[in-house]
């Protein structure tokens, strides 16, 4: 599978993009006080973990880290069926926090809409920011990322595959034509 398609980012490329995003998050928020990362299952949660590590390396502060499963908030139950529901784990209060939502690929924006609704049901964050590794375009909702690893114009029928290794560390990003 990983052999297919065009290589967009290799392992080093992913790491560089995440490092840059970590810096941007710190810069935008003037440090990381009251900043927390919430990764969207699945894919975003693994990237959020790496981002938290990068931030800790720069600022020497461990930011709170959570994961969110948006299955219960999807709007396509009738067309796509009941998908298994994953765990949502946010071991801190969201109230008055600046939450950085982390996802791997930004596409239609519907996942982010669902994730924001889910966050709102869990508390009252001061702000929600969005960080994605790849923005492939084709937005269907007025959603714009705050931090982007790579802007990549794609055709609607193409697919972005973020490949992880066994330890759930990102290996590479590929563009697959169908």
């Amino acid at each position: 599978m990983a052999e297919q398609g065009t290589l967009i980012l290799d392992k080093a490329g992913v790491r560089r993009a995440l490092t840059r995003i970590a810096h941007e998050i710190i810069e935008r928020n003037k440090g990381v006080e009251n900043v927390a990362l919430v990764g969207i299952r699945s894919g975003g949660d693994d990237l959020a973990k790496l981002l938290a590590r990068q931030i800790a390396a720069i600022e020497n502060i461990e930011v709170p880290l959570g994961t969110i499963d948006i299955t219960m908030y999807r709007d396509d139950l009738d067309s796509r069926g009941s998908k298994p529901i994953g765990k949502t784990e946010i071991p801190f209060s969201l109230d008055d926090m600046k939450i950085v939502l982390v996802d791997d690929v930004l596409f239609t924006g519907r996942t982010i809409r669902a994730a924001m609704d889910a966050l709102m049901d869990l508390g009252r964050p001061r702000a929600i920011q969005l960080s994605v590794l790849i923005d492939r375009g084709h937005r269907e909702l007025p959603i714009r990322p705050d931090f982007v690893g790579r802007n990549l114009p794609t055709a609607i029928n193409e697919k972005i595959d973020v490949v992880f290794d066994g330890e759930r560390n990102p290996l590479e990003v590929r563009l697959i034509k169908s």
């Binding site: 499963d69 299955t71 219960m72 908030y73 999807r74 139950l77 009738d78 067309s79 796509r80 069926g81 009941s82 998908k83 298994p84 529901i85 994953g86 765990k87 949502t88 609704d117 889910a118 049901d121 869990l122």
Partner: protein, 310 residues
Amino acid sequence: MAFNHKHILGTEYLSREDIQLILDTAESFREINTRSIKKVPTLRGKTIINAFFENSTRTRLSFEIAGKRLSADTVNISGSASSVTKGETLEDTARNIEVMHPDIIVIRHGHSGAPHYLAERLNCSVINAGDGAHEHPSQALLDILTMRQHKGKIDGLKVAIVGDIAHSRVVRSNLYALNKMGADVHLAGPGTMMPSGIERLGATVHYDIRAAVKDADVVMMLRIQLERQGMTLLPTLREYARFFGLNDDVLKLAKADAIVMHPGPMNRGVEISSAVADGPQNVILGQVENGVAVRMALLYLVSGGEQAVE
């Protein structure tokens, strides 16, 4: 993992994988019940009718809360308020419900097979909330979820179920499900309450509570219908309590970390002593709590049940 059941008529029709998925889904929903905003939009716009043609407080409440927490519109009809007392047939009742376009009907009915009857005739999903002495799948699933939480697994557990086996739908649903999950089920009850061939559903039959409870990981006591006293099935409740009730002495025969379960409502001093019911090994309220999560899982899974899931 695909869940492609439109209806939940019984655990007889669920595979081990289905049961596992239901339990895992229920675990995910459990978290919602502890939030301050106990509601997710998953089933927004869906209509669920809880049609209870037989008295039930907790099962109906549990299904109603489950539906509401998933943002579905839940409507209740009960035996006395419904048309059954006016001589309407179940088919006519069903047709009248159907044209109001519900997505799910949850049915409790005194006649075994009534949910099957509806499932054959309605377009919507049917969830069996207890039919006669046949099945009560959501109860068995919440029982098994509770066991899994306390024991970490079901495979290899010795589960003792004691009481009126013949008239219990909880027993049948548990037998199907527990056997699929690899448990070793032992039944005990009076000779008048042990139906023919029950061992063929996968159980060892005892007429002595001690034999069933010995070395058990789980002891499940069934509710004895008080009106059976003095009929031909039972001489007295006093005698029943003496020979088939769970008290501290009997419970000592089980494993030290055994859990005590009861589908409720309990008759304290009859099938279970207050000391045991309130004792450290009881997980009875945990069962009730799990009931909401399991029913949320069932409502969610049948809602998308016809589409294949990747």
